[in-house]
């Protein structure tokens, strides 16, 4: 009996180790396979030029339009989401801290919104665009991506704000500061690292999402110069190039995938560095 107990434990320990290893190995495999396939096509020309004539038949040009388009789109959307999301997160935690029920309902709604697939946001954005007669444009894309990342932003900021002790709020009130002063000058300052992490998380999500911009942003070979023009995005550029039957174009898709992966890795590393760096400004209790 005792023996069986030990054997069972060892079997399951082995299984657990294997499954953890599978996950780590899968990440390595993803990065390795994409890099090994696309590195040969990744040239400076590729990331510094817009597509020339015949780009989609394997002629010269690059994906600068998609890189810039993606950056415009995600930074614009993150900015909008921050302007709307930060006040909401602060409001939940400072103004409504006595009404736990309302706060819980709001958090529940936000969690639901977080779970909504991006293609639904895309379809919804499309119906709105038809209703208002807007064509596919950078603006429409920014609005849809904003809707997509707002729940991530708010819940991310909210999770850190939750950890601020009540005592800090009471101390701030007792010194005569108003609610919004407490929110922006005490709560926000206390939680800067978490807020930056949430912003970077949303930025990464905004850059990587393809399904929501498929309907709304369109695709173009030029770098957009105004909000009403369509814009190319990196995920869609990868997607379109990969569906081409020509091997050179497919290889470029892998190279574009490397660019996207590197951008995501940089954002991920940055958020770690920021989180660590600003941690020391925090008041500990």
């Amino acid at each position: 009996m005792k023996n069986f107990k030990i054997i069972e434990e060892n079997i399951f320990r082995g299984l657990m180790l294997i499954s953890s290893a599978i996950i780590a190995f899968a990440l390595l495999l993803i990065i390795y396979s994409i890099f090994s396939k696309g590195l040969s096509s990744l040239t400076w020309e590729m990331i510094s030029q817009t597509p020339k004539g015949g780009f989609y038949f394997g002629k010269e040009g690059g994906i600068l339009n998609a890189i810039i388009g993606s950056l415009y789109l995600s930074i614009g959307a993150t900015f909008l989401a921050f302007i709307i999301g930060l006040p909401v997160a602060l409001y939940i935690n400072v103004h409504l801290y006595k009404n736990k029920k309302i706060v819980n309902i709001i958090r529940f709604l936000l969690d639901l919104l977080w779970g909504v697939p991006s293609i639904v946001y895309g379809a919804f954005g499309f119906t709105i665009m038809i209703y208002f007669g807007i064509k596919t444009s950078l603006m429409a894309g920014i609005i849809v991506v904003t809707l997509l990342i707002i729940p991530i932003m708010i819940r991310g900021i909210d999770e850190v704000l939750k950890t601020v002790p009540i005592g800090l709020m009471e101390a701030s009130f007792s010194l005569g500061s108003t609610k919004s002063e407490t929110a922006y000058k005490v709560f926000l300052k206390q939680c800067i690292p978490g807020v930056i992490t949430a912003v970077l998380l949303s930025l990464g999500r905004g850059i990587g999402d393809a399904a929501s911009v498929l309907f709304t942003t369109g695709y173009t070979d030029n770098i957009p110069t105004s909000l009403s023009q369509p814009a190319a995005t990196l995920p869609l550029s990868i997607f379109f190039q990969l569906s081409s039957p020509i091997p050179e174009v497919q290889n470029r898709a892998y190279a574009s995938a490397i660019v996207l992966t590197i951008i995501i890795l940089i954002i991920s590393i940055l958020s770690r560095i920021f989180a660590r760096k600003y941690q020391k400004n925090k008041i500990n209790f």
């Binding site: 657990m16 409001y91 892998y254």
Partner: protein, 299 residues
């Protein structure tokens, strides 16, 4: 001094109003999406019965025939297969990371999970085309004596499984962390082995949480678009096996947005598909979230 005070009060009011407006906007968003999609799909619902739409497999947009059954079934196949692959891995890994793992393994695994969660779905799709599709067509399918291009439900499910692993893993780790140490310590002090404690105390206590995390993973998997679209084959037929191509609902919407304005009622049909997706995901989300919340309060 007095003026300054009024100014501060006014500013505070202004800030509060702006915060409140933002909050109301966000809280209304799910309902606005629901209503917007419903209005668009109303045209289709008026001309066809709901039963015909959901339970027939005749998909001919040019002849005004919209049967969603192949797409619903494909979605189910891909999603359930993805869960079958990912749930055991997630549960085992989360137990390992919360109960056994040493600090250096945690330091190693946390960035891995974070990066997996951050990778865009199109990257998973590219990886699926590079690795999974050839693997299936050259090795797995011939092993069962089946000839296939590799673009199949199985390929979609494997890619999807990997995509939802970081998502479910994070939830499971949080859930296992909320189990109080006293419970496991009491079990250990009674002479149970570590694994017995995990089996009879930890997993039992976390059971509702595990179910909810599976529900959340399911709803995430159900709505995933680009990665699945790239590897699943996209043939509008009721799938009969895992090596057959499928055509899940999100792929349907994403693939046909270009043509939908040229054929009458097509846009309405696609918006109905989006509405369907939204409602299914919403239902799974609501139940899982409610159950997780109850679980948190109980613990």
């Amino acid at each position: 001094m007095n003026f300054f005070n009024i100014n501060r009060q006014f500013r505070s009011k202004l800030h509060s109003k702006w915060m409140f407006i933002c909050l109301v906007l966000i809280a209304l968003l799910p309902f606005i999406i629901l209503v917007g999609l419903y209005i668009k799909s109303n045209f289709l619902l008026n001309n066809n019965s709901l039963f015909d739409l959901l339970c027939t497999g005749n998909w001919k947009p040019t002849e005004q025939k919209f049967g969603f059954l192949p797409f619903i079934l494909s979605s189910l196949w891909v999603t359930i297969l993805a869960l079958v692959i990912s749930v055991p891995v997630c549960i085992l890994t989360s137990i390992y990371l919360t109960q056994y793992a040493k600090t250096y393994i945690l330091n190693l695994m946390h960035p891995v999970i974070d990066i997996l969660a951050a990778l865009p779905s199109v990257i998973y799709g590219v990886w699926g085309i590079l690795v999974i599709v050839p693997l299936i067509s050259n090795h797995i399918a011939p092993f069962f004596g089946i000839n296939t291009t590799g673009y199949s439900i199985l390929a979609g499910a494997i890619v999807l499984a990997l995509m939802i692993i970081p998502f479910m893993l994070n939830i499971l780790i949080e859930i296992f962390k909320t189990i109080p140490a006293e419970l496991t310590e009491a079990s250990l002090s009674l002479g149970a082995s570590k694994w017995q404690t995990i089996k009879f105390v930890l997993v039992k206590k976390a059971y509702p949480g595990i179910i909810s995390s599976v529900g959340l993973g399911l709803s995430r998997a159900f709505g995933e678009t680009i990665a699945v679209l790239m590897v699943v084959g996209n043939v509008a037929k009721i799938p009969t096996g895992i090596f057959q191509p499928g055509y899940p609902i999100p792929s349907l919407i994403a693939n046909n947005y270009g043509e939908m304005m040229s054929i009458p009622a097509y846009d309405s049909a696609l918006m109905f598909a989006a509405l369907l997706l939204f409602i299914i995901v919403l239902i799974f989300n609501i139940f899982s979230r409610l159950s997780i919340r109850r679980f948190e309060i109980k613990v």
